[in-house]
């Protein structure tokens, strides 16, 4: 599905840590305005894919193209300045900084050539952050920290938002909130690349799905087709959609 509307395109990406190869040639595309999710079991290379796109892991071969530009070998800070924002695994908010400062620092990063929303405008969009503007990151609950990590990424007005397991470790009611937020953001036009363990969340949110196994894309398709394919879900994820 590589067309004019392709925002991000990953080709034959090989990448890993030290001598361990985690990605064995990953191919994927993200269309502008869509939600694409990567699913797969633990350790198949989902997070490494995101890290390789961002540049915190350096690919050994293959290419990453963003907005038609080759960003394969860019460092994370340069990639972020191209307009890709990451909401990392385990959120990684700055614990000693206040909520406002956390968002403000996100605003300093990202693309430098565009108008960005103000810190308060972004915080106002997150009902559970509004009351905590001046609290330290460390004093927030897990769900609040997740929202803060999303806010920190959004404030840079990214062209692509990458979310790494945003529902991990959250209570079911909070998971619903996160899901709603992803939906809302996408409705507002944000392109999203989502890595998710929770298959239900992943399939609900996605327009298009890639299934990763042993460092390669083993299946791809529109979310509703994948959701209906019990055999595929069972083979690569060990679950069926009905679960």
């Amino acid at each position: 599905m590589s067309g004019d509307d392709t925002l991000l395109s990953v080709r034959d990406l090989v990448s890993g840590y030290g001598s361990t190869r985690v990605l064995q040639g990953v191919n994927l595309d993200v269309e502008r305005g869509s939600v694409v999710t990567l699913i797969g079991r633990n350790g198949v290379g989902k997070t490494t894919t995101l890290r390789s796109i961002l540049g915190s892991v350096t690919p050994t071969s293959g290419s990453v193209t963003f907005e038609g530009e080759d960003i394969t070998m860019l460092s994370p800070e340069k990639t972020a300045r191209e307009g890709i924002a990451l909401v990392p695994e385990e959120r990684r908010v700055f614990p000693g900084l206040s909520v406002r400062e956390n968002v403000e620092i996100g605003r300093i990063g990202g693309r430098q050539d565009i108008d960005k929303p103000t810190v308060d405008e972004v915080i106002d969009e997150f009902e559970n952050l509004v009351r905590h503007r001046n609290s330290k990151g460390a004093n927030l609950s897990g769900g609040e920290q997740q929202m803060l990590a999303v806010a920190r990424a959004l404030v840079s007005a990214p062209d692509l938002l990458m979310l790494d397991e945003p529902t991990e470790g959250l209570a079911p009611s909070i998971v619903k909130q996160v899901q709603r937020k992803i939906k809302q953001l996408n409705d507002e036009g944000v392109t999203i690349l989502l890595v998710e363990q929770n298959v239900q969340v992943a399939l609900d949110a996605a327009d298009y799905v890639y299934i990763l196994d042993k460092g390669q894309v083993v299946h791809e398709g529109p979310a509703d087709e994948v959701a209906a394919d019990d055999e595929i879900l069972d083979r690569y994820l060990g679950v069926s959609a009905a679960e």
């Binding site: 915190s56 460092s75 800070e77 990639t79 900084l97 400062e101 403000e104 920190r152």
Partner: protein, 658 residues
């Protein structure tokens, strides 16, 4: 003057010194908090500030001081940024130990540059005439300059606080100190901020140097005399805590000054005692938090073990050959009349043993003991005191040295091994400084002179050799007492090496290495990590004590300099130079270091500078030590012949991660 105003004056004096400490400690603490760098060269930057000001103010006359007060710190800031760019930067991502080593090398370099430009003696640096007068306030006269320092220092400290907490710059470096990778991921070039932060810390040190230089005088030793108290303050206040640096600095300044006046005996001791008490009660320091205080370092200690192009059989042969040469040297020396070489070898052997002892904790247990000279010095004092008061036998003296040091190591270990990493380094440093200052205070340790003129008997209960009377003619040469000393020393050092090797090859050694690789995993398997580390520290302390005892017995004296922190630094340098984590590496390192020092110092006046530069290069480019050189060279040539494509990727990887 009334008692009250006398006390008030002392408190004010304390605040003056305290302000200097605040400025120093604030810089140290910011640099540590943001970059995890323990900057040993901070004291030299402080001295550099004073000397720059001295050089600027001199020719300018009246207004010179004010010009210098602005220009000199900026210059020091630029020097600091240069240092960060050229050296410190290359080590990000490695264990903080390497920054200690690197900045220790920088101390040698900057200090030697200062003495070669401005000379070794202290020089007066007059304070401006406007401030050089007393003012009457609160009913007594006090120097206007001193009031000036207190006010100026407060303004600077407040300014720094505002910079850290109320500006964008401050926000980014605070975020960087908590999670630098995340800051990068957001698209912020944190490296640039690191350089600025280092410059800021250096400039603050420069200001402190000027202020104190004009309060007392400028001298090349001013850096090394403030660096240890500054560290104590940073640790006391809580590493990386700005509030801790301010409160700790003022507190230590006042306590030190009051102690000097009212309890002279405790001067020099009280600060270290305070630090030990605080750390026992609150291991993180007064204002230390758990946040970002370096619980997790990705940087690994790079040890030389496991890397050998040389097979263990070859190494064993080389070892036998080395011992063989060492056995033969005295004969050649005797025949050729170059007896000096034996003296040098004795020095090398003693330092080799000392380095070996350090390696047991540093290279095998991953514990950075910054005060290892504590054991060396105490061992020397213990054996000299035994020789003087109890028994002339060298065996008894050395046994006492080993036992005393092992007991001290156990106690220090008991207090400090539960807190890990940087804190352990600081606590060991504090204990060493405590003992260093203590030996000046007592009569039985000989005060600042030390203890001289002890005679040694190589035997027990009257049976043995008295080296002063021993002489066996043997053809064209004689075997004399000097040779007996030498062979005894050689035997003890070789024996200690074999003992250490036995220990490391036993399960005990495997557990230690497992702890070094991953403390957490070792404890999950069920080993009592703290107990193992403490045992290693006890053995290490005992061996270091043996080294000190041997030196004292060999040379017949002991002096406070045996306990000076510079020894601790040098022995770390030797260990890393040779290659820690191998038992022979540090011994080779000691040999190279002592020989280089000896040769260089007889040819070049600026030998410290040369050693410093060599060492800095070594830390950056050969962190696994001399023993890794054969491997590095073979790997490199193999690498060259491999596919070029691979090279470019690897280079790119290195660039992106540093």
């Amino acid at each position: 003057m009334s008692v009250a105003s006398a006390v008030a004056e002392q408190v004010l004096n304390g605040l003056v010194v305290g302000m200097v400490y605040v400025l120093l400690a604030a810089g140290l603490s910011i640099i540590f908090g943001v970059m995890d760098v323990i900057n040993f060269a901070h004291g030299e930057l402080f001295a550099l500030g004073a000397y720059f000001a001295f050089a600027i103010a001199g020719p300018l006359g009246g207004a010179g001081f004010w010009v210098a007060l602005v220009v000199a710190p900026l210059l020091v800031g630029v020097v600091g940024m240069g240092i960060e760019r050229l050296t410190v930067k290359r080590l990000y991502g490695r264990d903080p130990l390497y920054h200690i080593l690197l900045t220790f090398g920088l101390v040698l370099i900057i200090n030697d540059l200062i003495t070669s430009v401005w000379g070794k003696s202290a020089q007066p640096f007059p304070i401006p005439a406007v401030l050089d007068q007393p003012v009457a306030l609160f009913g007594f006269n006090y120097s206007l300059y001193n009031y000036g320092i207190i006010i100026f220092g407060s303004i600077l400290a407040l300014g720094t606080w505002l910079l850290l907490n109320r500006t964008r710059f401050g926000m980014i470096i605070r975020a960087g100190s908590e999670d630098r990778e995340m800051v990068r991921n957001l698209g912020i070039n944190i490296d640039r901020y690191y350089t600025l932060t280092f410059g800021l810390g250096a400039a603050l040190a420069g200001v402190a140097g000027i202020v104190l230089g004009a309060y007392q005088n400028v001298s090349p030793t001013m850096g090394s005399s403030v660096i240890i108290p500054a560290f104590v303050i940073v640790v006391l206040g809580g590493l990386g805590s700005f509030r801790g640096a301010v409160v700790g600095g003022l507190f230590v300044g006042v306590v030190q000054t009051l102690a000097r006046t009212y309890t002279p005996f405790l001067e020099g001791l009280i600060v270290f005692l305070l630090m030990i008490v605080v750390l026992v009660v609150r291991p993180k320091g007064l204002f230390g938090t758990n946040i970002g205080a370096g619980e997790h370092h990705d940087g690994a200690l790079l040890h030389g073990a496991g890397g050998g192009v040389l097979s263990s059989a070859t190494r064993a042969k080389l070892g036998y050959a080395a011992v063989g040469v060492l056995v033969l040297v005295p004969f050649f020396a005797e025949l050729t009349g170059v007896t000096y070489s034996v003296t040098l070898l004795e020095d090398i052997l003693i330092w080799a043993l000392f380095a070996l002892s350090l390696d047991l904790v540093l290279g095998y247990a991953g514990l950075v003991s910054l005060g290892h000279t504590l054991f060396y010095g105490v061992g020397a004092y213990a054996s000299v005191l035994t020789l003087m008061h109890f028994s002339p036998s060298v065996f008894v003296a050395l046994a006492v040295a080993v036992v005393v040091c092992a007991v001290i190591a156990w106690s220090v270990g008991y207090l400090s091994i539960r807190v890990s990493g940087v804190f352990f380094a600081m606590i060991t440093l504090a204990f060493a400084e405590l003992f260093y200052n203590a030996v000046f205070k007592f009569d039985f340790t000989g005060g600042s002179d030390g203890l001289f003129g002890v005679d040694v008997f190589y035997g027990l209960a009257g049976l043995g050799i008295d080296p002063r009377e021993f002489e066996i003619p043997l053809g064209i040469m004689t075997i004399d007492g000097g040779m007996v000393q030498y062979y005894f020393l050689l035997a003890v050092v070789v024996g200690s090496y074999l003992l250490a090797r036995r220990l490391i090859r036993a399960p005990f050694g495997s557990v230690l290495q497992a702890i070094r690789e991953s403390e957490e995993r070792a404890s999950f398997i069920g080993y009592d990590v703290t107990a193992y580390k403490r045992r290693a520290f006890v053995v290490s302390g005992g061996l270091a004590g043996l080294a000190g005892g041997l030196f004292a017995a060999n040379n017949g004296y002991v002096a406070p300099s045996f306990l000076h922190w510079i020894n601790s630094g040098e022995v770390i340098v030797m260990t890393v130079l040779g290659g820690m984590g191998t038992l022979y590496g540090p011994m080779i390192g000691a040999g190279v270091f002592v020989a280089a020092e000896d040769i260089l110092s007889s040819y070049i006046e600026q030998w410290q500078l040369v050693i410093g530069v060599l060492f800095v290069l070594f830390v950056i480019f050969v962190p696994r030590g001399l023993v890794s050189l054969p491997q590095t060279i073979t790997e490199h040539s193999m690498f060259e012949s491999a596919v070029g494509d691979r090279t470019s990727v690897k280079d790119a990887e290195v660039e992106r991660h540093d």
